[in-house]
Structures are given as C-alpha cells and as structure tokens.
C-alpha cells in the first residue's frame, strides 16, 4: 500500500510554496530598523530611536534597548514567551506579550 497519494504531493507543494512566499515577505521587511515602538493595550507608550540606549517599564514588562538591539528583560506574565523571544533588531520584528497586551515593534 502506498502511504502517500497524488493529492498529498499537491498539498505538500502548496505548503512549500506558501512557506517560500512567507519567507520572501519577511525578507522584504527585514531592513535594519530605526525606531522602537512599544504599545500597551493598543496605545503607543514609547516611540524613540533604536540607537538610544534605554530601559522602559510599562508597569508589567521591562524592555531594554541597548546598542541597536531590543529585548524583554522581564515580564509579570505566566508563560514568559516574550522574555524567551530574545533580541530583535530588524525592521518589522516584534516581541509580543499577549497576557499583558504589550507589543514591542521595530519600525
């Protein structure tokens, strides 16, 4: 018995194309960023140059901007996904903390 049928390859090819397209989409955005924008509850609470070293506390999350890279130092949320995201520096990259509704974007 054949494990994969004809339609399966069609599915795999479609997924592969979608994957390549999404990477292309990503790379078209991945220029070195210039500004750091921090939003909390959809309101902009911080908007400054990425080259300015700073530490910003939203009350729930502490974001560090140092030597052109941005990372979440600590957060009060349970899953700590935002802290584990690590450093971001390119345009379009972001760190998201869903539980605290904090989003750090580079523009």
């Amino acid at each position: 018995m054949k494990v994969l049928k004809k339609g399966d390859f069609l599915v795999i090819v479609t997924v592969a194309v979608a994957f390549v397209l999404s990477i292309a989409l990503l790379f078209s955005f991945s220029k070195q960023g210039s500004r750091v924008v921090i939003k909390q509850n959809n309101k902009i609470v911080y908007n400054q140059s990425i080259n300015k070293n700073n530490e910003f506390d939203t009350g729930t999350n502490v974001i560090v901007i140092k030597n052109g890279v941005v990372f979440m130092k600590n957060a009060t949320c349970k899953n700590q996904i935002c802290v584990k995201t690590g450093e971001i520096s390119k345009k379009g990259e972001s760190i998201v903390c869903l539980p605290n509704k904090v989003i750090v974007e580079i523009k």
Binding site: V3, L4, K5, K6, G7, D8, L10, V11, I12, T14, V15, A18, F19, S22, I23, L25, L26, K39, N42, N79, I81, C82, K84, T85, G92, E93, S94, V96, L98, P99, K101, I103, E105
Partner: protein
C-alpha cells in the same frame, strides 16, 4: 455506514454520543499533556504545540463523520479554554480550529488525498488562521511568525497524519 443509523428517527445514538464524549476527553487530556511538553519547545519557537488532539478529530473525519468532527473540536476548544486557557487563547484556537476542520472536511471528500495530506493542510490552515486572529488582537507585528508557523504546522501535521493513519489501520471497531 453510521449516517443511516443516526438519521433513523429522533433517537440519539448512544454509542455515538459515548464515542464523542470519550474522544473529547481524550483530546483534553492529550492537550493538557502537550501543554506540559510545549514548555521545552518554547526555546525553539514560542507557543508551539504539537496539536495531537487534531489527530483525534482527523480520525473522525477520515471515518466520514464530519459532523462529529466539528462537534468534538468545538467542544474540545470551549472546554480547554475554560480549563486551561484565557479569552484570547479561546479566540485564537477557535478561529484556527474551525477553519482547519473545514479544510479537512473539504479535502476528505477527495479520494486522492490521504490522512497525512489532510492533516498537513489542516495544521497549516490552523496556524495561519490563528495568526490572522492574532493580527486582529495585537497588530501586524505577529506576521513575523508566519514562515515558522507554516513550517512547524507542516511538520506537526505530518506527524498527526501518520498517527491518525495508524489508528485507522489498526482499529476496525472504530466505526460504531
């Protein structure tokens, strides 16, 4: 096979009812165990889960019980949101879950797609639509995850598909 039994009269098919309840319970337990496992996966990609409970729903779809698949999936999502989740995780998994089941439903009508193909397609759809819902909640920044989610969706989907195919092969008594 079952559809004829289910439509005969207004009597509820007790066997089916029990099967759905059992499968929903299995989904919830798998989902919980998975969330423990995913803590180690966070280092690779934040928030990624294997989606093993989709293998259960997939098994239902492959036995031509799409109604049951929608039912089990929606109940599973509601219950797991009540037990372990938050309103946001509920919206995310509901948008992903329903679209994924819909794609699986459509593909299952085609004879040339096996359980593995259906699983890959529905897992990727699940991840993409979850991301679409996340865009509405947190903004376009999350689109950054799209390639990672497509790739991991395909891998996890293939895994679940193989699992479902094995279950289908070895359980001839599954058709109640």
């Amino acid at each position: 096979m079952f559809a004829k039994q289910g439509n005969s009269g207004n009597k509820v098919n007790i066997k089916r009812l029990t099967l759905y309840a059992l499968l929903t319970a299995v989904c919830l337990i798998i989902g919980y165990l998975e969330s423990l496992l995913s803590i180690t996966l966070i280092a690779v990609a934040p928030g990624v889960k294997l989606g093993l409970s989709n293998a259960v729903v997939l098994t239902l779809i492959c036995t031509n019980d799409t109604k049951g698949a929608y039912l089990v999936n929606v109940i599973r999502i509601c219950l797991s949101a009540l037990l372990f989740g938050s309103p946001i995780s509920f919206v995310l998994s509901l948008s992903g879950g329903i679209t994924a089941t819909f794609i699986a439903h459509i593909l299952s009508r085609s004879k040339s797609v096996s359980a593995i193909g259906i699983s890959i397609a529905s897992a990727v759809t699940h991840n993409v639509f979850q991301l679409v819902a996340a865009v509405f909640i947190v903004g376009f920044g999350v689109l950054y995850y799209l390639p990672v989610l497509i790739l991991l969706g395909a891998v996890c989907g293939a895994f679940c598909g193989i699992l479902a195919q094995l279950v289908l092969k070895h359980s001839k008594n599954f058709k109640v």
